[in-house]
Amino acid sequence: MFPFVYEFHWTPGHIIFLGVFFSVFGMIIVTLINAMLRSRKDFRFKKAGAILWKTDFEDLPKFARACRHEFTGEAEHRVCDNGFNCGTCEAHQTFLAQQKAEINSDISQSDIFGFTMPPDRMYHRGHTWVKKMEHGAGSDTDDGTYIVGIDDFGNRLIGKPERVSLSEIGSRIEANTAGFIFEKAGAHLRILSPISGEVIEHGGNDKEWYLKVKADDSTNGMAHLLRGAEIRPWITREMERLQMSLATSKIGFTLADGGELLPDMNRHYPNVDWDAVWGEMFLEA
């Protein structure tokens, strides 16, 4: 380039100066391109979902990221920084190893603070549950099909949605990415899918929405889900979170009775910033 410019002479100054400048400029451009290539790669290797969750997760307040072992009392104030992915968490393994027996709790009771949380399923922190497909009698094959639904806490919190979108049949969903989209009162909520797999059926009515998913991995892919004795302390914590969220969203409003959530709460308390409350409770940053 330069040698074609009138009266241009190469001097050591030019070489050093332009060398440094173009190296720096090159570095900036390379960084930018690198970021682009990496994100493309992420999509190609299907890492995007995990990344999205990771980003969302990182933006969650610490209180929402409490470790499941904190619920059970095994640990005090432990904040998860692993995206609730207990499958890869070393600490989780340690805790599991230390667990002598199933934590003793009244797991048969499905009514927790007035919520119906049946113990026959596993729960995701984003208020969805997974239940193994019960095949009809005579069928002994476990084909890895699961039903995914929204838990009672979630259902009651939202009430009756104005519009629902479910993942299409035949599409893939990733754990911790949107499995349902609920729209209500101007809010636009994505509700996280608890597991990864292929949607093979979906449906629902005014009250219950579900996806039937052929899961990728039925053991490791479920490690992060809460179950059994963890459910009660978790819901207790969630009630606290809700209370706090409601408090910051609108001063002076608390769940004074500590009792059950009314269906369609937003109608009863129109002054609350429900968008913020829902977002917080459904782990949306």
Binding site: M1, F2, F4, V5, Y6
Partner: protein
């Protein structure tokens, strides 16, 4: 090889990469820097053959030789002719940009008539014939005088004006020349031989005593003065400047006598006093040629102490000056008005001129010499402007040429009848033309053929021709043609020669005398007239660009003089109030006479003061609480105006130096929009406006 889509893509890709390896894109990028130069608001340069033309500058009477670089025949640059025998190859700032005057923003392209009576004082185009008819009927029915105002007398056009006015019963030929020859013309009136044309022999003089003449500020023939003063170290020339302000000439003088304002008369008498009282001059010899009793009486009117008091100069310095004058081998005493302030009064002029007689410098080498002895063939009715009766002129023609010396409109106005018609021949709508009823534009400088006679201050005769460098527009008219039309219209019989014919006649006359030599502009050679084969040959040479100059006329003639000087009556009163002295530069007292490029001097630098600026001493400024660049109100009995204040330590305390400069960016000089400092000056009965009592206050 078969053509596949892949191959084509490869080819395109390869070409794209290859393209960036060639110099082409980079060269194109680089060249675009040149293309950005094609800024639509930057004019394209004229293109075409470059040629050289020669002519003479006619912006003032000096008539310096000019070499013009032309593109497509249009001059784009003027420069002097090196080794020119008369002007020494110098052009002044005005002359260097003289070619711009053709395209001056104030130029009037068409004959116009002012509708003075209408509220907006608009101009409307008028045909020459209609204008001439209207003017002719004005002339025919006039009761008052018909006057032609010529600021550069002595030209062929001037002769035409004479002829025209001579045929009228009520014609007045009015002049207001540069007054650079003030001392010469005063002497001319004192002399018994009134056919002698006098000139200053500066080349051989040892001492010049100048009463305010701006000798080094484009006075006379600027190049000649510069050459003489440039060699002063070798020639021993001394200059004594007697002037109330430190002008550029005073700065360069050997001795500067900073007299009080307007006391030149007394300074001259004081010198005469010393010369006579102390017998410094040969009084016996002087008695042979003049009766100087009146001068003696006038000079002895006051005591040295009184002279000192009046002039503000220690008498010992006056004595020294007188001694130098008397002892110098050759000396010249001369006066010259400051171009802004008008001439001295007659008594002052006479007193200054008589010093030359006292020291015997007339007719001697290095003194005032006789340039030529001519038969005064016509009894002219030429009148200096102030000799004209007030309210007498009904129809006034104002010639297009200006003298380079200020001309207050008030001065003209007082000579006019209440009902008057003014016809301006100026090609420009300048300060004076704005007062006219008709503007019948003459050709601009370098648009017509003009002959250039010797300058009034020259010691030798000379002649050259200013050939036109530009084509003349059809909408302008030469004064001679205009007067031809007017004479026809009023039914007068008048033979009007063309300039070309007049030049030919002059060339024949020169050829017949065989005197002098011709300096050719193109090759710088000098050829004696005797070597020319014919008058035509000489004439042709003059048209090609040449200057004829005579050899010095060394004839010594015994003269007799009449020294009729009135004695001063009483000591002038000194006042504590401020005095306003207008000051101008010969080159630029009118806005239209200079190229807009002179804004470099007037507006874009502080080299020359433009209109509306006053300079005062810081001491005066402190007294009136003024600071540099303040706007102040300048008041005189005549009126008031806003001025910008400049401080200058070289100005006498109590003096306001008001610059009479061009108003470079004015486009309308009529009515109230333009305020000329000259309009604030009190014009004395002598037609001069050198001193005005003034007040200044901060706004």
């Amino acid at each position: 090889m078969n053509i596949t889509r892949r191959n084509i893509l490869k080819l395109i890709g390869g070409s794209a990469v290859g393209f960036f390896l060639t110099p082409l894109p980079y060269k194109v990028l680089d060249d675009s820097s040149i293309w950005t130069q094609n800024w639509s608001l930057t004019p394209p340069l004229p293109q075409g053959p470059v040629s050289i033309k020669y002519s003479n500058c006619t912006l003032c009477a000096a008539g310096c030789g000019v070499k013009a670089k032309c593109v497509n025949g249009i001059p784009c640059q003027l420069i002097g002719i090196p080794r020119h025998p008369i002007d020494n190859g110098a052009l002044c700032a005005r002359g260097l940009a003289g070619h711009h005057l053709v395209n001056h923003p104030l130029r009037v392209a068409l004959p116009q008539k002012f509708l003075h009576k209408s509220p907006d004082s608009a101009m409307e185009p008028i045909s020459f014939q209609t204008a001439v008819n209207e003017i002719a009927s004005q002339i025919q029915k006039s009761n008052g005088a018909i006057a032609v105002f010529d600021q550069q007398p002595g030209r062929i056009t001037s002769e035409i004006y004479f002829e025209f006015l001579n045929q009228l019963s009520n014609g007045i030929y009015a002049t207001h020349p540069s007054r650079e020859d003030a001392t010469l013309s005063t002497l001319h009136e004192m002399i018994d031989k009134n056919n002698a044309k006098l000139g200053y022999d500066f080349e051989n003089t040892q001492l010049i005593v100048s009463f305010g003449a701006p000798l080094l500020d484009d006075w006379g023939i600027p190049g000649r003065m510069r050459k003489i003063f440039g060699k002063r170290k070798e020639s021993g020339l001394k200059l004594i400047q007697i002037e109330s302000c430190q002008s550029r000439t005073a700065l360069q003088s050997d001795v500067w006598l900073p007299i009080k304002p307007d006391t030149e008369y007394f300074a001259a008498l004081a010198i005469a006093n010393v010369l006579i009282k102390e017998n410094l001059v040969l009084l016996a010899a002087l008695r042979q040629i003049t009766d100087f009793e009146k001068l003696k009486h006038a000079a002895l009117q006051f005591t040295p102490a009184q002279y000192s008091e009046i002039t503000g100069i220690d008498f010992s310095i006056i004595r020294q000056t007188a001694n130098k004058l008397a002892q110098s081998k050759s000396a010249i005493v001369l006066s010259g008005p400051n171009p802004g302030a008008g001439p001295f009064n007659n008594e002052t002029e006479k007193a200054i001129a008589s010093l030359n007689i006292l020291i015997g410098s007339i007719g001697t080498d290095g003194g005032i010499v006789i340039r030529d002895l001519q038969k005064e063939n016509k009894n002219h009715i030429a009148r200096n402007w102030n000799a004209i009766q007030d309210h007498s002129i009904e129809v006034l023609f104002i010639d297009s040429v200006d003298s380079g010396y200020a001309l207050p409109w008030n001065l003209i106005e007082r000579k006019l009848q209440p009902q008057h018609t003014i016809i301006s021949l100026s090609p420009y709508l300048n300060e004076i033309a704005a007062h006219a009823d008709y503007i019948l534009p003459s050709p601009a400088p370098y648009e017509s053929l003009v002959e250039v006679p010797a300058h009034v201050t020259s010691n030798v005769n000379s002649f050259s021709v200013a050939v036109p460098l530009f084509a003349k527009p059809e909408t302008v008219i030469e004064p001679e043609n205009l007067f031809k039309l007017i004479t026809q219209s009023v039914g007068m019989q008048l033979e009007i020669p063309t300039t070309e014919e007049a030049v030919k006649q002059k060339a024949e006359k020169i050829f017949s005398t065989k005197r002098g030599s011709v300096f050719s502009y193109s090759d710088g050679t000098t050829k004696p007239v005797s070597e020319f084969l014919s008058a035509d040959d000489l004439c042709k040479k003059l048209f090609e660009g040449a200057a004829w100059s005579d050899k010095p006329n060394n004839s010594h003639h015994p003269f007799r003089f009449t020294l009729n000087i009135a004695a001063p009556k009483n000591v002038p009163k000194t006042t504590n109030s401020l005095v306003l002295i207008p000051q101008g530069w010969k080159v630029a007292v009118s806005s239209s006479s200079i190229s807009p490029i002179l804004s470099k001097l007037f507006q874009e630098s502080e080299l020359r003061e433009n209109a509306g600026t006053i300079s005062i001493n810081p001491e005066t400024a402190t007294r009136y609480r003024l600071r540099s660049n303040d706007t102040a109100l300048l008041e005189t009995e005549e009126g008031k105006m806003n001025v910008r204040v400049k401080l200058n330590t070289s100005i006498q305390p109590g003096v306001i130096l008001a610059s009479v400069g061009p108003a470079l960016n004015e486009t309308n000089f009529s009515d109230a929009t333009y305020n000329d400092v000259l309009s604030l000056c009190t014009i004395s009965d002598h037609g001069t406006w050198r001193i005005t009592q003034a007040k200044v206050s901060k706004i």
